[in-house]
């Protein structure tokens, strides 16, 4: 009814000057909206809103304003905020309205609060009491409103206050309350997972709720939980399968149907959960084959919603342990998507293909024509997704075409994020698959000029590292460098003002380092070109530093030019430039010194850095004697800052004129500065003696101390961080040429497209490197010998034509092979590792070649000639217990005594298997990755690359192994540091290797580490503890479960925690205990535990704000899992 009334009112404004509340509310808003629409300019609108806001301000501060009027004001305030004007003066009144108003006002008040205030807003604290009151209200609507607001905005610190009440609502008789309570808990879980850990049991109850709405809501929580640790919820697989079956069977009330599809949202949620559970787990996957099959079958109606389900289903089928029939059905479904005339479906089809080609690259072959059409599609989104797909199927043979397509797209693109994203991919492909030097350099030139200064810093860094480190053959490296020099000289001779800074930096570095390789070019010419850049206005001061560094490396004999330049710059405004000009001057005048500081053509890793900075000792002691303050590491300074908050000491750290700029440069770990500074720092004392000027001393200091403290330490480790995969590969043109022959059997479409197709999809066929299920990158040894290179290419083309019929048979063989391989694994590892515990030393394999050879002979004797016996697999235990015990024997001798975890298997494919082990060193966590060659042949160029955003790699070794003998294992060490605590961090990585020359295979792996791995005991006396406790600021308090199963509950509990988390129990006095630990050798965390009734009250303090939360989380877990 009210709608009708309101609509009439719109039609006849002003006719009814009605007194009713509802009408009044809408009237004022209506007037506002109306007058705004009548305005013609933005300026008028601003004025009007300003007036309106002034009037509102007056009204809200007047004591006579009734709640009802307030409600009306609030609606207008929301409207003004939506238009983008600031109505923050009403925020506090929104809270008041929610607190004091009747149900109607409350509703608007809560809405205003949820729209106005963010999670972190301080005013939200004032809402807590209101929420508490309403949660206890018997009025259903009030309780609903309170739960709604709790699930949207609620301060994290206040969760414990409302948690018990929300928990109680889980058993409320009304389903709407239960549903909202579940979602509120979901929200709590997202923002503070450790706070709701104890109620996981109640989630299970919600999952089996009689109301489908409540059950569906609980799936949000489960999806999140299972995403984090799938292993803990495998037991629920059966329940999820049953629920999905019931949904498919139409057992839910008809209300939940959407366009006659039963509960599609629920179905999708369940499919996602199942795919997470079935991932890499055959027995769990088997439970769900049937229901997935039914899901695929049922979704046949031609409506968006069925496609949404199908898409999720296809993803699930390809994520879980593969089953041939399902894969075939799913592949057909993808066809329906891709071939659909509807553009949204086409997009999703491409997305599905992108996902699926990682498992089966040949699927892309079927749809090559569609893919090519999509490549020229007018819609930006479609084009981009197609490129994403092409990126996944790139190999050494089609790389030039695909990269060309990507660069074409990039040239016409102006979206920053897309450019950064795609340019990164192009450079990745170029490094991986470059067919020759000139192509590589030219592609990288495009990358730098297109990506420009948006590029992520690691792209130029990687590129320069690649040039600098080179591969085994010096000749090839020099050719690449020479080509780069030539190409850059050409670029610099042209227009340079539009070039991005980053490109200029790369060019100047390369010219500085390698211009001498080019015999025919006059040095003067190079110097002239670089000097020209210095004069350009558009060149940033950072780039100038790079250019000057390059010039420093070139001279020899060109002193007149250099002197002129140095003199000119020595009066520059920029202190860094001025300083560099000084260096340049000194070095160019003393060629002996120059040769020593910047040795020409010295091997990359031969530069030694005196990381202890011993040469500075004299300087430091002199300074200390003169009254300078002793150096304090950053975290200590931070602590002092916290202690004394009244004084802001921050600006002083910038007062050193050079620290800022030098930091920004050295932080990037640019190779240039590395070579310059390492040379300089090694010689700075001598330099200073010679020059006798204070600038030079300062210079030594400048590079050593940065904002973050000890810079050279960081640099010292830098050369160790090897860039894996010697990326530029020997040309494979010949093979490529053979393969690019157009295939006659392709349909008679447009000639161009056909050609494009053949060049794009080359190498995806049967004889190629990318193969089924993404597991066996190279065929197992037995099959490798058969096809000769030229045979394989010809048979490849003919087999491609027979298409899909062929595919299925390959499927099965591969699965069989894979199965049998797995079965063999335990035996393999035993024979390979049993007898040589000392086989792998710290430096990898090279020293133990002999023992390896023995072993090799040994294994082949055991297995005889016929290693790979194809037989159907019965059990597929991926992690045979024998393996781990054997691998621990491979721990390097110097690390044997460290406490370590069990060896767990990370991943494997038919050629390699990877396991990892954690070693707890005081100052770092050592992650050891065991790379075992499971084949009978030598695997070459094994390179491990590990990424983890949250952790820092302090050092690594053994991540590149040139040659991994058959049946042997190599160990790769990563020393990891955690600066900011995270409850759990996951790492991902890839191992690339070559089983035969030219075919690089990659094997991805991933794993998780917990903060517990980074916690070390902190040994303190009780007094020291007391002092430290008082100085710490961030604290957290929480009640924990007390273990009461044995004698002294406090002692038992603390010991349990000690075992799980490597804590140091400082003292136990009566019912209180104090415990200390630290994050590696960094921030300490003190724990104070007191027994109170049946609970353990734990109070944590640390200088680091996030550390107590993390430790608390792990304490809870440790106690819960007992």
């Amino acid at each position: 009814m009210s709608d009708v009334v309101e609509k009439t009112l719109t039609a006849l404004p002003g006719l009814f000057d009605s007194q009713t509340g509802a009408a009044k509310i809408t009237n004022r808003l209506r007037q506002l909206v109306k007058s705004i629409t009548e305005l013609t300019s933005k300026h008028e609108e601003e004025n009007l809103i300003k007036q309106e806001l002034c009037a509102m301000k007056e009204q809200v501060s007047s004591p006579n304003t009734s709640m009802k009027q307030m409600r009306e004001i609030m609606v207008r305030a929301m409207y003004c905020e939506m238009l983008g004007y600031d109505a923050s003066f009403t925020y506090i009144h929104a809270i008041k309205l929610a607190q004091q108003g009747g149900v109607l006002e409350k509703r608007v008040g809560y809405l205003a609060v949820s729209l106005f205030l963010n999670e972190g807003h301080e005013l939200l604290l004032l809402l807590v009491n209101t929420v508490l009151k309403d949660l206890q209200s018997t009025n259903l609507i009030e309780a609903c409103m309170a739960l709604t607001v709790v699930a949207q905005v609620f301060p994290k610190d206040m969760i414990p206050a409302v948690l018990p009440l929300v928990e109680d609502k889980l058993s409320h008789p009304k389903e709407i309350i239960r549903r909202k309570a579940v979602l509120a808990l979901y929200k709590f879980y997202l923002i503070a997972p450790n706070q709701v850990q104890h109620i996981h049991g109640k989630f299970r109850k919600a999952l089996s709720d009689r109301d489908p709405g409540v059950m569906a809501s609980s799936l949000h929580i489960y999806l999140q939980l299972i995403r984090e640790s799938p292993d803990s919820y495998k037991d629920l697989t059966g329940s999820f399968v049953t629920i999905l079956k019931q949904v498919l069977g139409g057992k839910l009330p008809v209300d939940f149907n959407y366009h006659s599809v039963p509960a599609p949202w629920l179905q999708i949620q369940l499919l996602r959960i199942l795919s997470l559970l079935g991932k890499e787990d055959q027995s769990t996957s088997e439970l769900m084959y049937e229901v997935l099959d039914e899901s695929l079958r049922r979704a046949e109606m031609n409506h968006n919603i069925t496609y949404a389900i199908l898409y999720e289903c296809v993803k699930a089928v390809y994520t879980i342990h593969p089953k041939v029939e399902l894969l075939e059905k799913a592949a057909r479904c993808i066809g329906n998507f891709v071939l659909s005339p509807k553009i949204n479906l086409k997009y999703l089809g491409l997305k599905a293909l992108t996902y699926v080609v990682q498992h089966d690259a040949k699927l892309a072959l079927q749809h090559q024509m569609t893919i090519i059409e999509c490549l020229d599609h007018s819609d930006f989104t479609i084009k981009r997704e197609t490129l994403e797909l092409l990126f996944r199927i790139t190999n050494a043979q089609n790389v030039t075409v695909i990269v060309e397509k990507m660069l074409d797209f990039l040239r016409g693109c102006n979206d920053e994020h897309t450019i950064i994203h795609l340019v990164g991919k192009v450079s990745e492909l170029a490094e991986k698959f470059a067919p020759d030097n000139s192509w590589f350099i030219q592609t990288m030139n495009c990358v730098f000029s297109i990506g420009g200064d948006l590029l992520q810093q690691d792209v130029p860094n990687n590129f320069l590292r690649l040039l600098a480190e080179g591969s085994e053959s010096k000749e090839e490296d020099d050719q690449l460098r020479l080509y780069a020099v030539e190409s850059y000289l050409t670029v610099l001779k042209g227009h340079t003002s539009h070039l991005p800074q980053c490109f200029l930096q790369v060019m100047s570095w390369v010219l500085g380092e390698y211009a001498h390789l080019q015999g025919s070019v006059d040095r003067r010419e190079v110097i002239r070109l670089l000097t020209q850049l210095l004069d350009q206005r558009s060149v940033s001061s950072e780039t100038r530093v790079w250019i000057l560094s390059a010039l420093t490396k070139i001279p020899e004999g060109q002193t007149d030019l250099i002197l002129h330049l140095a003199e000119r710059l020595s009066s520059s405004q920029d202190t860094v430039l001025r300083q560099q000009a000084q260096e340049l001057l000194h070095l160019s005048q003393d060629s002996q010194l120059h040769e020593w500081v910047l040795p020409r053509g010295a091997p990359w890793d031969a530069i030694e850095v005196d990381s202890s900075l011993s040469f500075l000792d004299g300087f430091v002691s002199e300074a200390l004697a003169a009254g300078a303050a002793p150096y304090k590491p950053p975290h200590q300074r931070q602590e002092e800052l916290c202690e004394d908050r009244a004084l802001n000491l921050e600006p002083y750290s910038f007062s050193l004129p050079v620290s800022l700029s030098s930091c920004s440069i050295t932080d990037r770990q640019s190779p240039t500065l590395l070579s310059v500074s390492s040379g300089l720092s090694g010689n700075s004392t001598e330099l200073s003696q010679k020059a006798g000027s204070s600038t030079l001393i300062l210079e030594g200091v400048k590079r050593v101390w940065g904002k973050d403290g000890y810079l050279p330490q960081k640099e010292a480790t830098a050369p160790l961080v090897d860039e894996p995969s010697a990326a530029v590969q020997p040309p494979v043109q010949q093979e490529a040429a053979e393969r690019t022959e157009p295939r006659p059997e392709l349909s008679t479409r447009n000639q161009d497209k056909q050609q494009l197709a053949s060049s794009l999809f080359v190498g995806l066929g049967v004889g190629s490197s990318v193969s089924l299920l993404g597991r066996s990158e190279a065929p197992p040894p037995r099959f490798r010998k058969k096809p000769r290179p030229h045979e394989s290419s010809s048979s490849g083309t003919s087999e491609k034509s027979s298409g899909s019929s062929c595919r299925s048979s390959h499927h099965t063989t591969d699965i069989f092979l894979y199965g049998s391989f797995l079965e063999e694994e335990p035996a393999t590892s035993k024979s390979a590792f049993d007898h040589t515990p000392k086989s792998t030393t710290a430096n990898g394999l090279s020293q133990n070649k002999d023992t390896k050879e023995d072993k090799h002979a040994n294994t082949s004797q055991i297995f005889g000639g016929d290693m790979v016996i194809v037989r159907p697999s019965t059990i597929q235990d991926k992690h045979p217990p024998s393996e781990s015990s054997d691998l621990t024997a491979l721990l390097p001798a110097d690390l044997k005594d460290l406490p370590h975890s069990d060896v767990i298997s990370l991943t494997s494919d038919p050629s390699l298997s990877l396991s990892s082990c954690r070693l707890f060193r005081d100052e770092a966590l050592l992650l050891l990755i065991f790379i075992s060659n499971c084949t009978e042949t030598v695997i070459k160029d094994v390179a491990v690359q590990l990424t983890c955003e949250e952790l820092k790699t302090a050092s690594l070794r053994g991540n590149i192994v040139d040659c991994l003998e058959a049946r042997s294992t190599s160990v790769c060490h990563y020393a990891l540091l955690m600066d900011d605590p995270h409850t759990n961090v996951s790492f991902t990585g890839t191992v690339s290797y070559q089983t035969q020359p030219g075919h690089t295979n990659t094997l991805p792996f991933s794993g998780t580490l917990s903060t517990a791995d980074f916690i070390r005991p902190l040994v303190l006396t009780t007094e020291e503890y007391g002092k430290l406790w008082l100085s710490l600021s961030h604290d957290v308090k929480q009640n924990l479960k007390l273990l009461t199963d044995a004698g002294d509950p406090l002692r038992t509990t603390l010991n349990a925690l000690k075992d799980a988390l490597q804590l140091h129990v400082v003292d136990i006095i009566g019912s209180e205990g104090i415990v200390a630990c630290r994050l590696l050798s960094g921030a300490p965390c003190l724990l104070h535990c007191r027994v109170s009734g049946a609970a353990l009250v734990m109070w944590l303090r640390s200088p680091h704000p996030a550390l107590p939360d993390c430790i608390l989380y792990h304490c809870q877990r440790a106690l819960a899992h007992r």
């Binding site: 209506r30 149900v103 109607l104 963010n118 709604t148 949000h220």
Partner: protein, 155 residues
């Protein structure tokens, strides 16, 4: 879901719901950028858009654009249907809804959205249940209004 925006063909914002905490400046920037990008797209193009590290799913109903931001692993099609269901709910509630209904009763549109999506996740997908919840709250409002309307009469 990260956020939902409703805006007109002229680029005027009609409704905004943020499920991730962002500062006002950022919200304004995102809104401005997205409205521009979405309005620039041609009708035949697909309803999805990669934007920053998010996916934008949008659909136009008469003069109004509905636009949601989801994460990369989310399902675009089902998001499209979430939008559609929300429109169905509005339609049922207002009775063949038009842009004006949403302008003048935007707080009601918010109430409906809050019953349908909570914290960025689908809360209740049954149309009947959502509307029942809204009607209950509305009924209360009308009753009270009715009383207030009657109260001054005797005096």
């Amino acid at each position: 879901m990260q956020f939902m925006l409703l805006f007109s063909r002229q680029g005027k914002l009609r409704l905004q719901k943020w499920y991730v905490p962002l500062c006002d400046k950022e919200k304004k920037k995102i809104t401005r950028e997205l409205v521009q990008t979405v309005l620039a797209r041609k009708p035949k193009m697909c309803s999805f858009l990669e934007w920053r590290d998010l996916k934008i799913v949008y659909k136009r109903y008469a003069s109004l654009y509905f636009c949601c931001a989801i994460e990369d692993q989310d399902n675009e099609l089902i998001t499209l249907e979430i939008i559609h269901r929300y429109v169905e709910l509005l339609d049922k509630y207002f009775g063949s809804v038009c842009e004006l209904d949403i302008i003048f009763n935007f707080e009601k549109a918010y109430f409906i959205l809050d019953e349908f999506l909570l914290g960025g996740e689908a809360q209740e997908t049954s149309k009947k249940n959502v509307l029942k919840a809204i009607e209950q709250a509305d009924l209360l409002q009308e009753n009270l209004d009715f009383q207030i309307c009657l109260l001054p009469a005797p005096t």
